[in-house]
Symmetry: C2
Subunit: 80 residues, 2 copies
């Protein structure tokens, strides 16, 4: 079994109101010196295959089809 982690983040230049809200909330809590905050998503998947190359190709297809909106998001895949 392969464990994989897919991280999906917004592309540069895409507005991130959620990140902005977190910036505001952190300042409100008294944290200073915080620059930009961007929020993304992380998916932890278990794949039953033992073939790493196939798993990576499958994960790429999953990202393109479902996990990421590639118009506005980047994704990165890491296998354990």
């Amino acid at each position: 079994m392969i464990k994989a982690r897919v991280t999906v983040t917004l592309k540069n230049g895409v507005l991130d109101p959620q990140g902005k809200a977190i910036e505001g909330a952190l300042s409100g809590l008294g944290f200073t010196g915080i620059g930009h905050v961007r929020q993304g998503k992380v998916f932890d998947l278990e794949l039953e295959s033992a073939d790493k190359a196939k798993a990576e190709a499958d994960l790429k297809a999953m990202c393109e089809k479902l996990l990421a909106n590639t118009v506005i998001e980047n994704y990165s895949i890491s296998l354990d």
Copy 2:
């Protein structure tokens, strides 16, 4: 400037309906051999300080106070 990534994931045993929905959607798209899927959050922060130890302590406090719900979530911090 320090760039940090905070990853927040659900603790083991906490139900993850979003992850279950993704599992279902992936099977529906024809992907087979997928075990559990769990969804989490990732925060990319820029800190103006140059002191790594202080940055790490600040990030820990931010996680405890705002970024993670430590009753049901784990967090991990990585600095660039």
